[in-house]
Amino acid sequence: MKIVLQVSGLNIWDSRNEETIVKNVSFSLKENSCLALVGESGSGKSMTCKAIMGLTRPWIRCSGRVEFNGHELLTLPKQQLRRLCGSRLCMILQDGMSAFDPSCVIGQHFRETLREHFGWTVQQADERMVESMLTVRLKNPTEFLKKYPHQLSGGMLQRAMIALALVLEPEIIIADEPTTSLDTITQFEVMEQFAALQKRTSSAIIFVSHDLGVVNRLADTVVVMKNGSVVEFGSLPEVFEQPQKEYTRYLVSSRQALGMRFRQVLGGNEPC
């Protein structure tokens, strides 16, 4: 299979106090697959994702190589990188409630994004979004577009982000802990949509999570991170069944008990 994203020797540090955040991280993402970034909070997962898309704050510096279909993302001029973001690299954030401009209606964000990438008019954008929102099971999408973020719930906004990703059809979708801030039921609904998303599009997915239950369900490959470095990188069965490192073994065993219940729920409601 073709490799769409190759991260090699990625270092990230804070130039204000010279603190290292991510150290020598390497992994590769294959076409039409799902890679899970696993680790405790503060292990550098989110930072790695932001660095790939060039979204770090100005005082955060990166070195190493991030290759995406022949583009070297770290050294790519900002303008070009910005054009890749959204259309070919898409991100879904952890907290839906804070991911949209609080002073604009939701539709605004979609319209601006779609006009930027495809040059669509408001009608075209709304039409496609309504269609896509129905597929992620959002009710009354036309009304939805006219609402402000604070009038909606986190789970709904999360699914709205997935709907946008569906319309954009990017090559890579980076989902940064998309289920963490949701309650169990909504978590399940969002996960269902992710599974469907994987089927519907041919996008590769990077899925950041500390929930091994969720990872077990979606991922093909797993990257385990700890304190900013990669502890283990391999296919899902390799990492989960024959963990090489002590830390992964600890992580798997401690999560297994907690994940049981969740997997039962997920397993019992196979969407396809």
Partner: protein
């Protein structure tokens, strides 16, 4: 939205009554008898008991407090603030033109402040930590800590006397506005500049900015969203500052001999012309309440969350 407007207006009305009553009672608490003050203001050489009684009756001071308050307030609402003790003409014919002059000065100044602090604030926020940012912040800090009663005369000396390019004082054509507006802006601009800059910086670290960038929106659009959200805090601040400026013109008006209410009030204080002082207080108070209301309504109009609360 309509409910919110009604609620805010209903809250403002009692505040106006409380403030007007307080100012009325305070004036009546004055250790100097208003009748005596009126007589002194007219340079009556010998103030006899009889004369005081006469003046009292003449000024309606012998009636109970509440009745006087009622009369005074209903007069105020019709822009009738009584007679000036000193000038022997109605207070409104003194204070209304002066108020218009102050309003002109305040309007030009606030437009200047809003424009400059937004421009500098946005510029510095986009270049946070750079040399330009630090330089502008330093300069504006120095400007803000310069007292206007010091920098004002110095500017008159330099621009009007030494260079002779601007008028020294008074009101007239546009060039008369330049110095007072600059001096007044100095004391406010630093505050609003900081407000906009810091709120832009805080906003640019928000999640929605991250998502907009991740969605590939160009900087121009992202910055517009940041500015839109940052201005929400700033706009209500601006509206609150306008009545504060009405009161803050006192020094600038005296330095530049601007015939506004601040100057009128100071001379009324020296003359102990109580009706003028009273009218000054009530007008500024009314404007203060009005602008607080406008500030709330504007911020409700641009902030969807507040509208419902």
């Amino acid at each position: 939205m309509r409910n919110y407007v009604a609620k805010r207006i209903f809250a403002a009305v009692p505040l106006f009554f409380i403030i007007s009553f307080c100012s009325f009672v305070l004036i009546n608490l004055s250790p100097t008898d208003p009748a005596v003050a009126a007589l002194r203001a007219n340079d009556v050489p010998v103030i006899t008991e009889e004369l005081v009684e006469q003046t009292r009756a003449q000024l309606g001071l012998d009636q109970p407090l509440l009745i006087r308050y009622g009369k005074w307030l209903s007069g105020c609402l019709q822009l009738n603030f009584g007679q000036s003790y000193v000038k022997k003409i109605s207070v409104s014919s003194l204070i209304l033109p002066a108020f218009l002059n102050t309003l002109k000065l305040v309007t030009v100044t606030s437009v200047t402040i809003i424009l400059l602090s937004t421009i500098f604030g946005v510029f510095c926020a986009l270049r946070e930590g750079s040399k330009a940012d630090k330089g502008i912040r330093g300069i504006l800090f120095v400007f803000t800590s310069m007292p206007s009663y010091w920098i004002g005369p110095l500017m008159i000396w330099f621009f009007a006397v030494q260079l002779n390019i601007l008028p020294t004082s008074g009101i007239g054509n546009a060039s008369h506005y330049i110095l007072p507006v600059i001096v007044m802006s100095f004391s406010y601009i630093g505050f609003y500049f900081r407000l906009i800059r810091n709120s832009m910086i805080r906003n640019s670290g928000e999640n929605y900015v991250l998502y907009e960038k991740a969605s590939g929106l160009p900087d121009r659009l992202v910055n517009r969203h940041i500015l839109r959200n940052s201005l929400q805090t700033a706009i209500s601040g601006f509206c609150m500052a306008i009545p504060g400026m009405l009161a803050g013109t006192v020094v600038v008006e005296n330095v530049f001999a601007w015939p506004g209410i601040g100057r009128l009030c100071v001379s009324a204080i020296f003359d102990r012309d109580l009706p003028v002082i009273q009218a000054y207080i009530i007008i500024v108070a009314a404007f203060f309440i009005l602008f607080n209301l406008i500030a709330d309504l504007i911020s409700a109009a641009i902030n969807p969350k507040q509208r419902e609360g």
